[in-house]
Amino acid sequence: MKPETTLRKSKTMSKAGHSVGLVSRMVKHRALYLLVLPGLIFFLVFKIAPMWGLLLAFKDYNPFLGFFGSDWVGFKHFSDLFGSSTFYIMLRNTLAINLIALVFHFPLPILLALMLNEIRHERFKRINQSIVYLPHFLSWVVVASMTFFLLSIDVGIVNKLIAESGGETISFLSEPNYFWALLTAQSMWKEAGWGTIIFLAAMAGVDPQRYEAAVVDGAGRFRQIWHITLPAIRPTIIILLILRLGSMADTGFEQILLMMNPLVRSVGEVFDTYSYTYGILQGKISVGVTVGMFKGLVGLVLIVTANKIVRKLGHEGIY
């Protein structure tokens, strides 16, 4: 009995002491709280508060009954989602778009960076860098607009050239078979140049003496690239690859939305476009929330796993 009371006593005391310390520490940092406050309010209102809306995935939201008046339906929307064929189409599209990007888009900045790194004329290198970085800064609206002027049947210059040379015009923009390739080509055009920066920086860290030594040993350019440059950027490649895999739930949403038309919906529909079409355009709020939540949760698991792996490899993750 006795030891317990003393224990309790000391606990309360330390608790009180702690809280006094806490208050005084908070007072000491009051100016910092003032600095953090606007951002904090922002996060609470615009990032945390919408989480409340996730509950709508378990209700049958009816605008006339409101949030509290609408009926709880449990996991009905989820089972509807998993039972629909659209779900598997969206899953397939997301995987296909990501895998094609992984095979074609991912290696291109590495290759481009290796090539740029081999340029010996500084000015030629800088001019080319300025050119290939530029598309990164354009909006998807502008990129999509340019695509129309290049590839569409009615105003596309490419089809005009095909027709002039006696070929048959190709409906690049409304043919489901070309849709994934089109998306990949667009993002390669827009982002591949920009993607070289991080690799070029890693290459700049290589000691030039190593190349000189390799030349003395009789190594050609390819062997220098293979044995010196590539190993230098290998950690960067691995980290970016893992993080890329971690963001598999994401597909270029604005891009797909802009390139989408009724003829390619079957290959273009992904979780975000579905959530937008049903949740916002058609007002089926609960369906839109459910799809968005599913995508968010899958994305969460993927990115947290990817970050863990990167950290296990001894690198700093994204957080």
Partner: protein
């Protein structure tokens, strides 16, 4: 390494390499050149679908037309307003918060970091965000494009790691001299952060200028449209309609090609004007970011 090159001149490897890079660069600029030259072509001599590398007959007619339309001028003004106000608030709030987050002794710092990181890996999604903006009565207000993106987790983490890389001695000595936390922030941290502030000003500004989806769902009133929405309607909608109902052409609805291309160019001009700065500072930003990821 350059001594090797001067002795040997260009090898076959170099020739192939230089040609391939030139090819890629040409592919990058080709759409620009095409859009530029059509936009500057005199509409009277313009032959639809003829390929122009340079205008046959230069003219500012398309620009004069598009700049005389109210819809374009309004969209331009809206976009400038959102970009300027949004960017200023972004920079102020992000740097203030990131500085606070560097202070691990501040009670609650860990909890705040946890919240920021949580929003980095999970978001409620399109529909809940839309509902929130609607409940706040922000639909069809420019604030719907400014307030929901006042700052973001990624920028905060990058700015925070930048601030942590600053030498702590200056801050310490300023405190010994009796400077308050806010005084340190304003007189020491801000001046030292000018390169990062420049980088993030550009980051945020380009982001606001290019925003499309949020504008699409939050601004349904066409008198409030931003440039990106207007161009999407002007260029893509008239096209995808043509794609969907091939054959059913409506010449009067579809704006002339030269005018449509001029509007694209005008939407790119601010980006192209700041591009020299963008390139310099963005590359730095990527490297700042790569410290973290």
């Amino acid at each position: 390494m350059s001594f090797v090159m001067h002795k040997k001149g260009l090898t076959l490897f170099d020739w192939i390499n230089y040609s391939l890079i030139t090819l890629f660069s040409v592919a990058c600029v080709f759409p620009f050149l095409y859009v530029f030259s059509v936009s500057f072509t005199n509409p009277e001599v313009y032959v639809p679908l003829k390929f122009y590398l340079f205008p046959e007959k230069w003219s500012l007619e398309s620009y004069r037309y598009i700049l005389s339309t109210n819809s374009f001028l309004n969209a331009f003004k809206s976009t400038v307003f959102i970009t300027v106000v949004g960017t200023i608030l972004n920079v102020i709030i992000s740097f203030m918060m990131a500085y606070g987050l560097t202070k691990k002794t501040m009670p609650g710092q860990k909890w705040m970091m946890g919240m920021v990181i949580f929003t980095l890996v999970f978001s409620a999604g399109i529909v809940p965000n839309y509902l929130l903006v609607r409940e706040l009565g922000l639909l069809n207000s420019y604030w719907s494009l400014i307030l929901p993106s006042l700052t973001n987790a990624w920028s905060l983490l990058v700015i925070k790691s930048f601030l942590e890389s600053l030498p702590p001695e200056l801050e310490d000595s300023a405190k010994i001299d009796g400077c308050t936390d806010i005084g340190v922030f304003l007189r020491i941290i801000i001046p030292l952060s000018m390169p990062a502030i420049a980088t993030f000003t550009l980051f945020f500004a380009v982001g606001h200028w290019n925003t499309y989806f949020n504008a699409l769902i939050y601004l349904s009133d066409s008198s409030k449209w931003t440039l990106q929405l207007l161009i999407k309607t002007l260029v893509i909608d008239s096209n995808s309609m043509a794609v969907a109902q091939a054959g059913a052409s409506d010449e009067n609805v579809v704006p002339q090609e030269t005018i449509r291309m001029a509007s694209i160019v005008l939407a790119m001009v601010p980006i192209l004007v700041v591009y020299p700065f963008l390139q310099k500072h963005f590359a730095k930003g990527v490297m700042l970011g790569s410290v973290k990821g």
